[in-house]
Symmetry: C2
Subunit: 188 residues, 2 copies
């Protein structure tokens, strides 16, 4: 569980008493490759810390599965609006590798907000995620699929091979054949 | 200034003492149409409440101006990372109409975080903005430019005419001529 403390302390210092409360509120779970953690249309009950592995988010767009994004360990994730408001999720979250996650319920996460360490972490994490979405929007508006692929390749060289071609091409908004051509070109 | 209190109270209740501190920390400013509030490459010093008017965010992409998004009153805006970290902004923010804004410095905004009312507002506002960016990403991945144009037309029927065609087409990621065709088709 030390991985969770190390992760939170990337954002803020935790006192030992804060950490005791936080660690008691999380429970560990093992997820097999391809297992579904959250199903579109149902309520996402947990906020997760991904200690090991990789997950992808996708939604159904008139019968076509569209990949929104991926989360690579160590990082936190959830289906935010569903988790916060207890409404049906607009996305499915699937493990793309055998994963270790730590999960916490909405009620427990809210009660932790009284702790300085946890509330500071949540605020800073939210700033980071918001910036990430802004950056994604910027990239889509200003970069080609090839430039975006190269950035992923550079940032996650060991992870990218675990993502099936059809998911990565859906994320980039191009046909699988176009991604194959980009990949071959980049290997030259 | 009542507009700012009304706006914040859409998110959370404010005690009179909290409101007194908040209202003392903001100052009013009039911005003329086309005036620049934040320039790409310089530090954004303020968090703004837009009481009246409309602003757009754009950035330079290898010599081409790309419109990221718009903010329509009443709403808050800033160049977030620049404001938070005092680093050069990655975007320019320009008024597209005569505007009334209320501005607050980083130091004053941070000191207000000790007030329950202000910190709750900031947290809820951030959740909303993050969800907005997620929705934008989803739309870009799943909707056509025409569907996205129709949604803006429906949501902001009185504002859309104030946005020059070239900015709106840049936002939608299409040529101005394509947007003209969509507009004509929608007027039939």
């Amino acid at each position: 569980m030390i991985a969770l403390r190390t992760y939170i302390e990337l954002y803020t210092h935790l006192s030992d008493s804060d950490w005791l409360c936080i660690s008691n509120a999380f429970e560990r779970r093992f997820i097999s490759c391809n297992e579904i953690l959250v199903t579109e249309g149902t309520v996402c009950r947990y906020f997760y810390f991904l200690e090991k592995g990789l997950v992808r988010y996708f939604f159904n767009n008139d019968g076509i599965e569209v990949t929104k994004y991926f989360t690579v360990a160590p990082y936190c994730f959830t289906s935010k609006e569903s988790f916060r408001q207890k409404i049906p999720a607009q996305e499915t979250i699937q493990a793309l590798d055998d994963c270790i996650v730590w999960q916490i319920t909405n009620e427990k996460a809210n009660s932790l907000l009284e702790l300085k360490g946890w509330s500071e972490f949540v605020l800073k994490f939210m700033h980071e995620v918001q910036t990430h979405f802004e950056d994604q929007l910027l990239e889509i508006k200003s970069k080609t699929a090839e430039q975006r692929y190269l950035k992923i390749l550079k940032t996650y060289p060991e992870t990218i091979d675990k993502i099936p071609l059809k998911y990565l091409s859906s994320y980039l908004g191009i046909a699988p054949q176009s991604l194959s051509r980009i990949r071959k070109k980049c290997q030259l």
